[in-house]
């Protein structure tokens, strides 16, 4: 129900002329042949939808209720896998680490990318600046993880060398100190993600009519007041959207810790996806692993539904 209202909602928002299409279609063709054409066109993607999304999803729910090592017999264990997850210290560590990472990464990323977007919006050379800010966003996670292993190296990494040279600070052993490994991965993620969020903010800024600023200018509002009372409130739908997609991608963090630290030291960078991966492909406890994955799915589902609900209200509010 939520989904269906959302669909029509979105289509109205983005393509106002659309919904009338069907009724006006000329009755030159029989509706049967029309329907056959329709099924023909969706066939390849429908096969994909059934085979690679719906069936695996149903199997995932089924597996999460079973105990299975991938070879022997499957035994139905009810909700034991879920209860077991909450009692499993590894799962709890993974949840705490993932939450800590999210709390560090998302607000930092949002604030920085919004500031950069506001700064870039009307500046000369916008396209050139944008080139550099967006560059990390297209790079391969494994490759930048390798580069950051070197930058964050405790003894000879560029970051610690300059901390010592310029500020006289002895930098930490970023990737081998349990207290600093999550902030270090977070730093990498902010650097990578900034450009992507910035691009969305720039698009959001385009949507704010110049007349607001002209009126404010006439009323004598300074730049700060304009930012505070025009830009930030009118950008709020974009901000909300960016926040939710950032949180969702934060919950799925994996590549960086897999490559840079292997989840260590002492599981300090062991994340939820790491836990799913380890339970399935290292310990071969498929039931436990899918139970953890289903919990991740529920979290993401709830976040997505909140985003849909609230952004809908915002669209109406603005329009």
């Amino acid at each position: 129900m939520v989904m269906s209202t959302q669909t029509s909602e979105r289509s109205e928002t983005f393509a106002p002329t659309v919904e009338r299409t069907d009724a006006m279609w000329p009755s030159m063709k029989s509706s049967t042949s029309e329907a056959l054409w329709g099924y023909f066109f969706i066939l390849p993607q429908a096969i994909g939808l059934i085979g690679f999304a719906m069936v695996p999803l149903i199997l995932a729910f089924a597996l999460s209720l079973m105990q299975w090592d991938g070879f022997g017999a499957r035994t139905f264990v009810g909700l034991d896998n879920f209860i077991g997850q909450f009692k499993d210290p590894d799962f709890n560590i993974a949840v705490v680490n993932t939450l800590y990472y999210t709390v560090l990464t998302v607000p930092t990323g949002i604030i920085l990318s919004m500031l950069v977007a506001v700064g870039l919006n009307k500046v000369k050379g916008k396209v050139l600046y944008r080139l550099f800010y967006f560059m990390p966003n297209i790079t391969m996670s494994v490759a930048v993880a390798v580069v950051f292993m070197w930058l964050l190296n405790g003894d000879f990494g560029l970051i610690n060398l300059y901390l010592r040279d310029w500020f006289g600070i002895q930098g930490p052993q970023w990737l081998t100190d349990t207290r600093f490994v999550i902030p270090a991965i977070s730093l990498l993620s902010v650097w990578v993600g900034l450009g992507g969020s910035m691009v969305l903010f720039l698009a959001g800024l385009q949507g704010i009519s110049a007349t607001y600023y002209e009126a404010a200018e006439i009323d004598g509002a300074n730049k700060w007041q304009q930012l505070r009372h025009i830009t930030i409130p009118l950008l709020s739908p974009t901000t909300f959207f960016v926040t939710i997609i950032s949180i969702i991608s934060s919950f799925q963090v994996f590549d960086q810790s897999f490559v840079m630290t292997g989840g260590g030291p002492a599981k300090a960078s062991y994340t939820m996806v790491f836990h799913i991966y380890d339970s399935a492909f290292v310990d071969f406890t498929f039931g436990k692993s899918t139970a953890a994955a289903v919990i991740l799915f529920v979290i993401i589902l709830v976040l997505t539904l909140i985003q849909m609900r609230i952004s809908k209200r915002w669209v109406h509010y603005e329009g």
Partner: protein, 277 residues
Amino acid sequence: MLTKRLKSSTILLHIILFIGAVFMTVPFLWMVSSALKDLGQVFLVPPKWIPDPFIWGNFKASLTALPFGRAYYNSIYINIIVVVAQLITCSMAAYAFAKIRFPFRDAIFILFLATMMVPGQVTIIPLYLIMKNLGWIDTHLPLIVPAALLNAFGVFLLRQFFMGIPREMEEASIIDGANRWTIYTRVMLPLVKPALSALGIFTFLGMWNSFFYPLIFLNTPDLFTVPMMLNLYRGMYATDWTLMMAGASVALIPVLIVYIVGQRYIIEGVTLSGIKG
């Protein structure tokens, strides 16, 4: 007075933006700089940016240590198949959802939208088991086939564009007796070219950088994609930073060049997808 104040604030803004841009670029520059040094230079304190002498041999060493050429070949051919297949299958489905009337159309479309909320980690284990039953583990098929046949986001994105096309565009062809396939290929596809290139870029980048799926489905180094090969390389040269940076450069620089050449297109594509999605 006013113009003077404006000017100085503009200069300040440029300085801040410039410093920010330097921060975004330094990791790449340091990567290349380190890749061109020997071990004696790489541990110098304070850091030296320009290698002296330049050690070009690191690149040769990294290219010969592991079959990176093979990995590039694998990544490129997998990507080409997936991008082309997705452009065809997504645009077909999107066209039907936007312009053709058939029973259960909206219900099926909602199913597509719903799958966008399912994170890949939830379906990966069943998918792994399905691929195992098909005998596809340690081949490229698990990377190609699901991606070629399912991209709900792509269907959603293109549908938005098809819906924006006025029906008059189709009507003339209908009256001329053209069938749906002809309308789709001759009339509709040319009209959504910008959306197709946006989707193509998006798919390409996602596939090219993808690590999780290849990690699970591939075992044989000969079949590895570029990120997998680099991860293997990292395991071999964990302490030799010059070779590690040469390897990372080999993986990153071609993509960066493509990005710099086509940046307008790429950023606009991403923006388009982001807004529409």
